[in-house]
Symmetry: C2
Subunit: 496 residues, 2 copies
């Protein structure tokens, strides 16, 4: 039986949770099915709901229900017989409330509007390879991000406040240190691991067969057909509307079947996390993901550690060959080598697992400089290209394959990128523990058993929601705090 | 330039309008793409938004903005320099506000919940042909409809209050009179017009070719590809999220291509109305449809008066034959006869245009009796079957093809059915004027020109929104008040 005061707080929190779900549906629809000409009306709906949601997140009703559970100033739990889960929920609710409360409603609405316009401008700029059109919008976003950081407050670095929205409790300094250690290692490994591989047989890899393959795979990894659907969008994503209502999207290229499979494994990993959150706590932090870093650890676990591993393809490559006859003359070895080819390239989302984190580091460094004013928006393309040359040894020939490639900044997601790298670190550290617990994992996967993987993730990670912080979780599950050791060891063993 | 007080009222009305759009998206998604297992979470979202929407429709902000325009008690316009449109908007806003204000919030939320549960029970009952499971839910709906009627108030008949929600200003007595006149006419015409026709060549009429045909047709009648999409659902519908965002659905049977075409013409007719409403007045009654009867007149105009007419098929039948090769040996005459076959049948949505209105009359008579308590829910199947035998000469062998066939009652739509019949009457009367204005209409349609039809409807009906009441509109457009004359004359000429 939940504590009545916990339940009262859950009820008071529900409106905002429902509104966030509905916002999710508006976003999903916009990327998958919405008629193109409806963009203005959709923006209006999103702006309105964002304001409403913020109002609910900071409503007096919620505040007074929360105040019964926890002292908002000190964080002291005020009810002695809350369960540990309920106490954790109160702790997380408080952090969310304080954060939201610091943002004025007018700011939230303005933020949504400016991001909406910037996203529109970005997509045109990218298409036309025209950074100048996007620059004033990005400038407005950076200025608002600075303002946001001041509203939210920080101790050491203005970037801390932004980072904290995606990776609660993480600090810029910690990321600086991790990246300082990773950067030379990855630059070095990229050089050493780069080798030529055979090219995949030419397409077409028919769209319908790819969708069928993706759908089967989505169910094989453990998603429930009753609660998930798959669509196609220009950028793959996972939208969780509820633990019982999950929407994945994939991207299909008829020239290359790998993009689709990576997308489904990646988004499927996110989806398993979301559908593994306990529905009975829906509306509370106990039914929410801890952080974007932990979320990304789940997607990368499936996409890379499972889905780019040899055992997985021992099982799935014959199925691929059945679906795509041109692969019959291409060996498993060749496929595996191609899949894991390390090679500097321009586009982050298509990068291999070694260079990927370098792409992230570049963005983190540039974001920080933009926020502190060290870098001017107008000088961004040049700074981007210089870092690409420094870390990856290549220079984009256009801004569209350079600083215009990602949607994040136009959406106001400043402080988001580092969580991609954290996801890689977390996933490698989880994987090391997973393989210790299941020393026979490779044989089981090669034999087509994937369900025990989900079971392990569910037991250790998903079912806890935000009961533990990210630091507590990694300590509980792996016995150590987060470090880059497992990641470096995994990459070294795989590539050297 | 809009009057500033009108604009203030428009701004105050916008939240409710946006929420209704979002509710529309939730409904559309539920019927088209939502994973089946998400139904409970979807119901929760819909209940919450319904409550929120009602709160906004009756908010003090809206009330005080409206009170500047119009005296809520007397309906007297208080601002002398409002434009005629703005005055009409104030008049309609006032009527809506008074109606919504009479319904307590708690009632609205309970209503939504009970309807949501009843719809779920109905779909199971219909599948299992088990009226008993549905009966207690229907009983609850009828009781709540009585309560609703008392909340809303009425002068003569409790059904008036319910009818008014779908067909503002219409009265039960008026429908009684129209139906009293139509019933013997239609029963007689059904007998005289029934004749055997050749059956369509057997299927399959491939799904993908049907969808392509429907899509082309949707654009041919004047819908804008930039603002509309077509999906497949078990029951076809038209969901307007905004004048710039329209969602049609169709139903595909591979045995019979007519259902799909009827659906697209019908829903397309609704869609042309919705996308013809002036976006600049979005949020006000000037960008809303007058009534369900007028709405249905637009769908029936396209589905029946155009889409089951000979000129249309002179143009489209060769296209059909191109798409479905089995029709090459089936003549246009045979197809036209088959399309217009008059024959008593059980399912309203598949009924021909003569018997259709009799299906509606049956429902209207039963609804009235349920509301007044003359008929008990448990006795509904028997009463239904008796009327089917009386009016159409056939008796359903199961409740699934009898009183369980329609979703309306389970959705709480009591008072809705008569608008289908009104739609037929309005459409015939509009058509008579249209054909007078365009005496060459048949030749133009046969030559493939459909755009002038939309232009006429836009000019005369769509662009006005709720500027005029239904009675004013029919008088303005056709020069006469609504009567059954045009309808009877049209049917007589076509079938006798």
């Amino acid at each position: 039986m939940p504590h009545p005061d916990f339940e009262a707080c859950l009820n008071a929190a529900m409106p905002a949770r429902i509104l966030r779900s509905v916002e999710g549906l508006l976003g999903w629809d916009q990327e998958t099915h919405m008629p193109k000409g409806a963009i203005e009306s959709r923006s209006m709906q999103k702006e309105y709901l964002a304001g409403l949601c913020h109002k609910e997140q900071t409503s007096p009703q919620f505040e007074s229900a929360l105040k019964k559970l926890i002292d908002l100033d000190t964080g002291k739990i005020l009810i002695h017989d809350l369960s540990p889960e309920e106490g954790a929920a109160a702790r997380e609710w408080r952090l969310d409330f304080i954060k939201q409360h610091k943002l004025p409603s007018s700011f939230v609405q303005r933020w949504t509007k400016i991001c909406s316009e910037a996203t529109h401008a970005w997509s045109i700029s990218r298409e036309n390879n025209d950074f100048k059109t996007f620059a004033p919008h990005l400038n407005a976003i950076i200025n608002m991000a600075k303002e946001r950081s001041e509203h939210l407050g920080y101790e050491k670095h203005p970037y801390d406040a932004l980072l904290d929205e995606y990776e609660p409790l993480a600090k810029t300094e910690q990321i600086d240190n991790l990246f300082a250690e990773l950067k030379p290692f990855l630059i070095d490994l990229t050089k050493k691991a780069s080798r030529s591989t055979k090219e995949l047989p030419t397409g077409p890899y028919p769209r319908s067969a790819q969708i069928q393959f993706a759908t089967d795979l989505m169910f094989d990894i453990g998603l429930d057909p009753h609660h998930v659907r798959l669509d196609v969008s220009s950028h793959p994503f996972c939208m969780d509307l509820h633990p019982t209502d999950l929407r994945l999207t994939t991207h299909i290229s008829e020239d290359n079947p790998i993009q689709n499979i990576s997308a489904v494994m990646h988004e499927g990993g996110h989806g398993l996390y979301e559908t593994g959150l306990p529905p009975k706590f829906y509306g509370s932090p106990l039914s929410e993901a801890i952080s974007l870093g932990i979320h990304e650890s789940q997607s990368r676990f499936w996409e890379v550690l499972i889905g780019q591993g040899r055992p997985f393809w021992e099982c799935y490559y014959p199925k691929m060959q059945e679906s795509f006859s041109q692969l019959n003359t291409f060996s498993l070895d060749d496929f595996y080598q191609r899949l894991n080819r390390v090679e500097p390239s321009f586009i982050r989302v298509h990068a291999d697992e070694v260079t990927y984190t370098l792409h992230v580091i570049i963005r983190f460094e540039l974001e920080k400089d933009l926020i502190t004013g060290k870098l001017n928006v107008n000088d961004l393309p040049e700074a981007w290209n210089a870092k690409m040359q420094d870390y990856l040894g290549i220079t984009p020939s256009t801004d569209s394959e350079g600083c215009l490639q990602d949607i994040h900044w136009s959406s106001g997601f400043i402080g988001y990128f580092p969580t991609y790298a954290l996801g890689n670190l977390y996933s490698a550290q989880f994987f090391a523990t997973f393989t210790k617990t299941h020393p026979d994992y490779a044989a089981r996967i090669a034999a087509g058993d994937l369900k025990f993987i989900r079971a392990w993730l569910l037991e250790n990670i998903h079912r806890h929601g935000r009961h533990y912080t990210a630091s507590e979780l990694i300590q509980n599950v792996t016995g150590s705090p987060l470090s880059s050791d497992s990641y470096k060891q995994y990459l070294t063993e795989k590539y050297l």
